[in-house]
Symmetry: C2
Subunit: 325 residues, 2 copies
């Protein structure tokens, strides 16, 4: 006779893990501020609250997960370094997290990655290894580095330590603004939205978690409609942090705990990014503007009683020589 354990995929990360992560990373991260902007409130007809992870160290929420993962390595693992493949904010976050813990970060970056992103990784002390701009090449190079150095792989989102770390943003947010009716976060690989679901569902169950996606990279939206995980092929969007498909660990959160996925056009995203800079005077990257655009979207299912809308502004790393307007 076997004992059946009823273990839902969404139980892989629990509130206790997020709280542990929060304690673990506290000495290293910023408790980012929550901004409000009256003129945006007037425009949208709700009270908007912005959790400014664009002001997080390394300019994105990614630093939370990276620090949480690296802080759990033992001495032998720290001796051998860490490795990841990323063209964006996870790369810079892991490089800086590794530096804090005195270890080496090997970052496999596609040759198509922007020179700004590459520069940031190098500035944080990361060892950049260039690969071809496709997933096969990225995985191949990362595995080769692992084999050669014994470095520990720290994936960008499909990892319980990463999800728990990203969930600390919503934990702080709901402490700073306890009475949110909606909480919007962008969906790329799903690390941020999954951590947000863990936290919000546990401590503020009546707050609805909304995912935001670009129309040109809408795997979460389509997957939720189909009730099965569909991959993102050939993504087309300026939101360069949201190109990737969800992972096996993050999809269940989107499927079961995200109330709605709102898709927005790149035009809406650019408009939101520019509006935020003009009115709130704060720079956000397109991947964050997707979440702001969702708050303005007629597609968003919000009722008259949904007055307080929280938005996680995921990052602020923008190439100022190539602003998208």
């Amino acid at each position: 006779m076997t004992l059946k354990v009823h273990f839902k995929p969404t139980d892989i990360v629990r509130l206790a893990d997020v709280k542990n992560a929060s304690r673990q990373i506290r000495p290293y991260i910023h408790r980012t501020p929550v901004l409000t902007c009256e003129s945006l409130n007037r425009m949208v007809g709700h009270n908007l609250f912005f959790k400014c992870e664009n002001l997080q160290k390394t300019g994105a929420f990614k630093f939370r997960g990276a620090v949480n993962a690296v802080s759990q390595l033992n001495d032998a693992e720290l001796e051998n370094g860490v490795v990841t493949h990323s063209s964006g904010n996870h790369a810079a976050a892991l490089a800086q997290a590794a530096r804090i813990f005195g270890t080496k970060a090997h970052i496999v970056m596609p040759s198509s990655a922007s020179s700004i992103k590459r520069k940031a990784v190098i500035e944080y002390g990361g060892n950049v290894i260039e690969c071809q701009p496709n997933l096969d090449s990225r995985l191949e190079y990362a595995e080769r580095v692992q084999a050669e150095t014994g470095a520990t792989m720290i994936p960008p989102f499909n990892d319980p330590r990463i999800i728990a770390g990203q969930g600390t943003a919503a934990l702080e947010f709901l402490q700073q603004v306890p009475n949110l009716d909606l909480l919007i976060a962008p969906i790329g690989g799903g690390g941020l939205i999954s951590g947000t679901c863990v936290t919000s569902t546990a401590i503020s169950p009546r707050c609805k978690v909304i995912g935001a996606e670009p129309e040109g990279a809408d795997d979460a939206f389509r997957s939720k409609e189909a009730r099965e995980m569909l991959p993102q092929t050939n993504p087309q969007t300026i939101a360069d942090g949201l190109l990737t498909s969800m992972g096996k660990l993050t999809w269940p959160y989107v499927r079961d705990l995200v109330r709605q996925v709102v898709t927005v056009s790149d035009e809406e995203t650019v408009k939101a990014m520019r509006l935020f800079l003009e009115r709130a005077k704060v720079l956000i990257e397109p991947s964050s503007a997707v979440a702001l655009a969702a708050a303005f979207s007629p597609k968003l299912n919000s009722s008259g009683s949904d007055r307080n809308i929280g938005i996680i502004l995921s990052g602020g790393n923008v190439d100022l020589d190539h602003l998208p307007w």
Copy 2:
């Protein structure tokens, strides 16, 4: 026999006036936040504290003085409206202040004023009257409006109510960060720096007030060197808020209470503006970037013991279609 009253020009506005202004304007203004940015601290080797008046209502500190002035008008004066001539932030600030107090603002703007600035004034309900782009035309039109409407003139800086209002920014700042060693503010007409001197000298006498000016509009610097008020002729700078000459009421503060005026090139200003957006993710206008550039300037007389430098970021109204890089 006459009793001689020793009344220094710098006594025209006192700390009590600033404190009164602070009480008067409190319901209408933002208590703006103070930001810090570790990567800028590392670059400059000091602790920088940024008083974010770019996040003030109407996007600039000017709103403080305008509200303070308009709030002191009696019912008969409010009946007849207010008038000013300005191409910039004072125009928008006065329009919004007038709206709050239910009166009309007539704003004489040169035809050369940017369409963004004109749009802002109209959005705040101001009545824009176009004049030729020179001081004579501005004064002529403003006097004509005064004669026709009976409106009260609210000058942009050369007015005790305005100086007292602008001094409330430093009052908040020194409450938020009591141990500043240096306090840097830009000098245009001198309203902000004068109010800053009143406040800082009274409540934090060991804090040195530093003025920042563009090299191409350096009347305060030259005046201080010459010990007499010299006008600004033919100013050439991208810091469009700092083109004007000081007034008779503001010059004595610069002469007697400002420790040093640091001039910076437009190149340094643009670099500072861009750096702040890239690192702090916050948008400031060139006139504010002048003060940040002064903190980085080798001309700044700061000693090793000057560790905490406060900078008043005066505004954030920028035409995003014409960023200066």
